[in-house]
Amino acid sequence: MTLSVQHLWLIPALPLAAAAVGAVLPRSGRVPAASAAIAAMGAAFVLSCLALNGALADPARHAVHNFAWFDLGHGAVMLGWLLDPLTAFMCVMVTFVGLLIFVFSLGYMRDDPHFARFFCFLSLFAAAMLGLLVANSLLLLFICWELVGLASYLLIGFWFHRPAAAAAAKKAFLTTRLGDLGFLLGLLWLYDSAGSLLFYDAGRGVLESGVLAGLTAQTVAGGLALSTAIGLLLFCGAVGKSGQFPLHVWLPDAMEGPTPVSALIHAATMVAAGVFLVARLYPLMAADQALAAVPVHALTVVALIGAVTALLGAVIAVAQDDIKRVLAFSTVSQLGYMMLALGVGAWTAAIFHLLTHAFFKALLFLGAGSVIHAAHHEQDIRRLGGLRTRLPATYRTFVIGMMALAGVPFLFSGFWSKEAILHAAHGWTVSPLPLWAGLAAVALTAFYMTRLVAETFFGSPRSPAAAHAEESPAVMRIPLVLLAGCAILLGFLGTPAWPWLQARLAGAPLHGSLEHLFEGGGLMLLSIALVGAGIGLGWRFYGRRPRASAAAADPLAAASPTLMAALAARLGCDEFYAATVGRLHALAAAVADGLDRWVLGAAVSGVGLLGQFGGVVSRENDEGALNGGFDAAGAGLRGAGRSYARAQTGRVHGYLRALAVAFVVLGLVLLAGGVP
């Protein structure tokens, strides 16, 4: 039984419907909202499995269903669905992990008054994420990309009454949006150059050779191939979304959201969307590989960014005290791994790691959630401790997750996926940096995860909250167990001996044999040694002599306070951004506002003043030059009038007499003058 591509839209539509249901339900509609969300997710999981089933029938095929969104009278804007193994695997992962996290949330969010809204948002996220996965159009992908951003924003800010949560939500949205601007520009450029945004469209899609050839043939400024430029711009989006350096700053802050959210969005799925994007666009990104004369290949940048991020995240994670932040930086680091893998050309390894990481990181986050839930929302590992006995189930699953993440050999999925990446990095000829960064990150990951486990679960409780912690309910434990199982088992889908997953993803035939199991054994040994060293060091510093009280100094900090302080401050990235980008924006705002207020406003006022001045000049002219004469005459007249007024006695006789006398005088003058 399979799901045809025409009906692929059902996968995102089901959670969307659940979200709509949740949106219109009143606050009291907890049960219907949650059941709708879980039912939709379960149905979507089933459909995803069916789709996977269909996709695996012919892994090399990109089944598409395209349709016009709207028509401009001049060509329509097309959208479409795409079904290939990448989509299908991702869908299965998202729906499965999502389903488990939904179930976990039932317990975790039980006491929250906005329970219904939570499931509404989660469903919305799931819908957007699944839409992103099934999109056969970069535009649709972008739309869903933004919608997952919205969902992320809403969920990070779920406890919006907490200023930190509100700020973190805003930061997340804006930071990712910064990357999205690059995405948008790249999208526009691609649209403009290719005339379409469909990935696969019977030869006209942007990921198909015909169009790619055209894109690589053009060069833009700096000698870059057009495809490189577009690819890098699109990669900006991935950088933002996947928390890659330098836009990784939002991800740790995003931990302000509820822990299931962190697990689903900021560990398992959404942050992996960047990786998925690059994987999806891999033909485009890799199109310039054949070109020798270009200054830089797109994938090189991807690999370097990934390497830097992997290392950076691991380093910073060492000094974090918040259980979720440690995991968040670990996520950053692991996403860097994936990018690194993509960059070095092992996109199947990247997806392999993406899938395994999704499970074990979700496990870890849910475990952390369980801890937090049990410890009355105490997240500081310095104030936890001794939970091993109080939370046995959580402890066991958490340790499995930790081992998978740390890459404990052979049994845990993280080992295999990580090994695949390191193997690919080793084979990369452009630069050794990814390999070294990867290896360093391996050791650091093992170290900080050991630290985390030791601080949280060993020793004795260092706060009342930790002392009174109780094991979470079954609804939370079962997902943990299931995820733990997956965290172990999933690794065997992609061992070098039987790289079924990679083959299915690449659509290539499966060449499995046990000889391949220890291919590049030296590197594997080195990596195993590094893991062991990391765990050992971690145990030495934190496990052997557990911290006595919350206030006790960190052993590493005691050894190197400056370094640890810098790391704890995340190497000052936020401060740096605040001082540069933030300041720049404030400056731009001030300039714009000032321009408006003082320059343009002044210009307008100036025109007004000019008018007034003209009026004044005209008036002064009137008063001074014209009226002056009149005024003087008027003053004279007034004076004359005043003196004349003295003659105005009001006596009629006087007037009459004056008249007569004047007449006589006039007559005499006339007579004397001889006027006839």
Binding site: F70, L72, G73, H161, L185, D192, A589, A592, D593
Partner: protein, 508 residues
């Protein structure tokens, strides 16, 4: 010959007359009467929509009667896709404005009267096809707007109203002069006839240089002030901020469209050559509006001013598309998908901005009313806790304004960017800055007002009343519908775009 368009224009005026003739009408009855007449535009607009044949192109439902034969002025009304779009927008926004003004208690009858006058004159502007009465409508619209601002506005309203009035009137004066020159040269003021002349270049020839350029600049100035085009927007923040909510909504939702409409209906068809020749500086100005408008908004602490600047920013997108169209690299065919996207996006953006800005102003108005006149960014906090439904409706408007995909704002902006990128890539790149700043200030607004602990005026904040839901919900619903199904509007304007390309073919 149908009288539908005349009815459209004059029914609101009839309503105003009815209100004027009923001095004893009570407050509630006045409101209802005004709303009923205001809704007539929506009803008639939908009727016109039904009678409108999108495929036919050209002006439809034309009414033409000889009027002043000495000046060869005729009463000429007509409807094309753009007019229809704006008529529908007016029909949607106007009742919302009246609903948002429901809480006004003082001189309700006069308010309704003035508002209906304003609405009618705006409709007249959108439907008139002869400059003579087009300009009459254009100028008349100032008068009720002036009084609405002055009488019901905030403490700075008189000054703002005067500034608004004088500024726009000053701009229009140049336009009037320009049209006087055009009339002197051609003997007609009919848009259709003039567009024919303009399209063939005969208009510029008949005017001669430099008269043609001067006329072009005069008309441009008149439209630029109204739209507003950066840097002629300085009247706008103060005016929008001081105006009563309903008036702000109408000003930004409909009246700012009058300017853009003028660009498309007058400036482009009449002076294609000049628009092209001056496209680059104009493009820069539009960019200035996009970027500086957004950044200036970032700096505002008065919510209304903030929304006002966002309006500058958004209207500038429309202008950006128009000028990018003109500034396109020569030699490119004038009917490419990019051109279609730019124009289609501009038209869509007009509509979308009308909805979202009106809704934002309505939201701010509700905030202001609840807070007893305070509307500072710092006067609120945690409103979402107190009023989740209100927050949700405002959130839709905000994210629409922000250009979130799935809401209507995105479609217009995407098309504009699509077109602009194809025609002037660097402009699109610069405009992205504005896009980011828009997100920045809107989210800041959202965070400061709606998130965080309940603080300031949010304490005791009532959630939306039924009237307020009636104001906001239709707008929000439309935002979602149009975000998912833009074809609803694009279907009306597509033939128009093709027709314009034919008209502007001369310019290439």
């Amino acid at each position: 010959m149908s009288v539908l368009l005349s009815l459209l224009v004059f029914l609101p005026w009839l309503g105003a007359l009815a209100l004027a003739l009923a001095p004893r009408l009570g407050v509630s009855a006045s409101r209802r009467l005004a709303l009923a007449f205001s809704l007539s535009t929506l009803g008639l607009g939908l009727l016109a929509c039904a009678r409108f044949d999108p495929a036919a192109g050209g002006y439809q439902l034309v009414e033409r009667h000889a009027w002043i034969s000495a000046l060869q002025v005729s009463y000429h009304l007509g409807l094309d896709g753009m007019s229809l779009l704006l008529v529908l927008l007016t029909g949607l926004v106007s009742p919302a404005c009246l609903l948002a003004s429901w809480r006004i208690e003082r001189d309700v009858r006069l308010f309704g009267l003035l508002f209906l006058l304003l609405q009618g004159s705006a409709l007249g502007v959108f439907l008139a096809l002869d400059f003579f009465h087009w300009f009459i409508f254009w100028e008349i619209s100032l008068v009720p707007a002036f009084f609405l601002i002055k009488l019901w506005g905030g403490p700075g309203a008189p000054r703002a109203a005067y500034q608004f009035f004088v500024y726009t009137l000053g701009g229009s004066a140049f336009m009037l002069l320009g049209f006087a020159a055009i009339h002197a040269a051609t003997g007609t003021m009919d848009f259709v006839a003039l567009a024919g002349l303009g399209g063939s270049g005969a208009l510029a020839r008949q005017l001669g240089e430099p008269a043609a350029t001067l006329v072009f600049l005069g008309v441009l100035l008149g439209l630029a002030v109204k739209a507003p085009l950066f840097p002629f927007h300085t009247w706008l923040p103060a005016t929008y901020a001081e105006a009563p909510t309903g008036a702000s909504m109408f000003l930004t939702g409909v009246m700012s469209k009058m300017g853009v409409y003028g660009f498309l209906r007058i400036l482009w068809p009449l002076f294609p050559g000049h628009v092209q020749a001056h496209a680059l500086p104009l493009l820069w100005l539009a960019l200035g509006g996009v970027v500086l408008g957004a950044f200036a908004a970032l700096r505002q602490t008065d919510l209304k001013r903030l929304v006002a600047y966002s309006s500058v920013n958004h209207v500038s997108y429309c202008l950006l598309a128009l000028f990018a169209f003109a500034a396109a690299v020569p030699g490119r065919a004038y009917d490419s998908a990019q051109h279609a996207a730019a124009f289609g996006g501009a038209l869509l953006q007009m509509f979308n901005h009308g909805l979202s800005a009106a809704a934002l102003f309505a939201g701010v108005g509700i905030l202001e009313a609840r807070a007893g006149g305070r509307r500072g960014l710092g006067d609120f906090g945690g409103v979402r806790t107190a009023a989740p439904v209100f927050a949700g409706l405002c959130g839709v408007a905000m994210f629409s304004s922000l250009g979130l995909p799935g809401l209507n704002g995105f479609v217009g902006e995407f098309l504009i960017f699509r077109g602009v990128f194809g025609l002037a890539p660097w402009a699109a790149a610069v405009a992205c800055l504005g896009l980011f700043a828009t997100a920045l200030f809107l989210l800041t607004f959202w965070q400061r007002v709606f998130h965080g602990p309940v603080a300031g005026a949010a304490a005791g904040f009532r959630d939306v009343s039924a009237v307020e839901i009636a104001t906001l919900a239709p707008l929000a619903a439309l935002m979602i519908v149009l975000g998912v199904w833009p074809q609803l509007l694009l279907g009306l304007i597509n033939p128009l775009l093709l027709e314009w390309f034919r008209q502007f073919a001369f310019a290439s």
